[in-house]
Amino acid sequence: MSDNLALDTNRISGQDIQLCYHCHKCTAGCPVVDAMAYGPDQLLRMVALDERQAVLSSRDIWLCAGCYTCATRCPNDIDISAVMDALRQIALREGCPAGEKDALLFHQLFLSVVGKLGRSHEAAMLGLFKVLSDAPLMDDVGAGLGLFLRGKVPLLPQRSGAASEVRGIFHECRKADQSTD
């Protein structure tokens, strides 16, 4: 990592955030902007101004749903979804506490299951999320039971034959990510 957030963001995302001329189309179309503190347009400005701490600790970077509405509408072809991904990755590598703790927890649990089994396993992941997150324990119990009764959350994971190769891929990716720090 450099000491400039814009440089790091551009390098990891493959984008050039300095192309933004703040037309606001990204923020106007963002489906989750109501829940954000700044919105995508203002966040890009903060990255350009190197407001590292404020950006990386914001909840906005974890609230992005990855819908690509901004990336599709940007007149300068900036993939803002990729910028949000890069900011999450930088926050994670720098140990910056996530502004949306449960969103990070979800991603970590999801990937830890995939990293072990090669495939997702909803029952394990949902159970762990319920126990470890701040979400009320009894929320979604009815829907979860409904899914279970319809045979949609099998208790046993599938055997994919991919598990050991996927474990190797996770290992190699961790090494590759660390070598670019």
């Binding site: 990891i12 489906p31 989750v32 109501d34 829940a35 609230l63 749903a65 990855g66 819908c67 690509y68 509405t69 990336a71 599709t72 979804s81 991904d85 890069a86 999450r88 990755q89 994670l92 949306e100 449960d102 969103a103 927890l105 979800f106 991603h107 970590q108 999801f110 990937l111 995939v114 495939r119 997702s120 396993h121 909803e122 949902l126 999320f129 997150s133 979400a135 929320d139 979604d140 829907a143 409904g146 899914l147 319809r150 045979g151 949609k152 959350v153 099998p154 599938q158 994919s160 034959g161 991919a162 190769e165 996927v166 891929i169 996770f170 190699e172 990716c173 961790r174 590759a176 990510d177």
Partner: protein, 284 residues
């Protein structure tokens, strides 16, 4: 017509009936689907959030398996389609990244496999007219709005499918099987996707708006082609009466006269069978 088939994790769990109906409809239309042996999770919305390298390597392993199988790859789940198509887009254009990913996964990228959603195979390869010619039971009287969500159509330079602002593929397919397709402006709006667990309040707002707009358009149901959209629409509606959703392949199966339709519809959290019965389309 023969394709490799990538069900992805959802079609073995929350999107069970999407997988069952896709396989049955394709079999009925005599389109071969061969499940990719040893496939792995595409990384979904989590890999790209936490590791750029992993978000390419996980789909790349599936592309590698598809290369070995020698057919184009059908991925019904919109997220799986998007992740694999996105990895393919990057591997095709960036030689340095391609070399790194090839090394991690242990394969040689040939670029000969195309990743396709179910809708593209039905619309572009099989054809709307050919589907219309196979209809046994037109869905007359069923008022629906098509709902694509995000990842089938965005970003368009990656997905190379339909039109993110003026989508037409699902409408034409639904009209071909006799359903009444109503105009609305929310076909490619976001359902909240993977925020469903961590911020269910956000997803409830987005899904609530979709349900309200579908209702205002005069629709009795939404039609989806994404297991995450479908589960959010079913789990995160809070106001009554709840509007049901169908997978497009379920409605195709119904129109084709397939006997398994009732079994698929029984898997839904919002039961669409009363609606089907009310318009005289019996699904036992």
């Amino acid at each position: 017509m023969e394709y490799s088939y990538y069900p992805g994790c959802s079609l073995h769990s929350t999107g069970l009936e999407f997988g069952l109906s896709t396989r049955a409809v394709f079999e009925d239309l005599d389109i071969g689907l061969i499940e990719l042996p040893g496939w792995n999770c595409c990384g979904a919305s989590s890999a790209h959030a936490l590791s750029h390298t992993l978000s390419l390597a996980l789909p790349a392993r599936n592309l590698s398996l598809a290369q070995d199988a020698g057919h184009h790859l059908v991925a019904p789940c919109a997220a799986c389609f998007n992740r694999m198509k996105s990895a393919d887009y990057t591997l095709r254009r960036d030689p340095a990244v391609r070399a790194e990913v090839e090394e991690i996964v242990g394969f040689q990228y040939t670029g000969q496999v195309t990743v396709r959603p179910v809708l593209a195979v039905l619309y572009e390869d099989y054809g709307v007219d050919a589907i219309a010619a196979r209809v046994q039971r037109p869905l007359t009287g069923l008022n629906v709005v098509p709902y694509y969500g995000c990842l089938l159509v965005r970003p368009p330079k990656v997905t190379e499918f339909d039109d993110p602002d003026h989508p037409y593929v699902m409408s034409e397919l639904l009209e071909a099987i006799g359903a009444e397709v109503l105009p609305w402006s929310y076909a490619t709006e976001c359902c909240g996707a993977g925020l469903s667990l961590s911020r269910s309040d956000v997803v409830q707002n987005l899904v609530g708006r979709l349900a309200m707009r579908a209702h205002e358009a005069g629709a009795d149901a939404l039609v989806t082609a994404c297991p995450l959209c479908q589960v959010n629409l079913e789990m995160r509606q809070t106001s009554e009466p709840k509007i049901p959703s169908f997978y497009i392949t379920e409605l195709l199966g119904l129109a084709l006269g397939l006997p398994q339709v009732g079994k698929w519809l029984s898997k839904h959290l919002i039961d669409p069978r009363p609606l089907i019965q009310s318009v005289g389309l019996i699904a036992e």
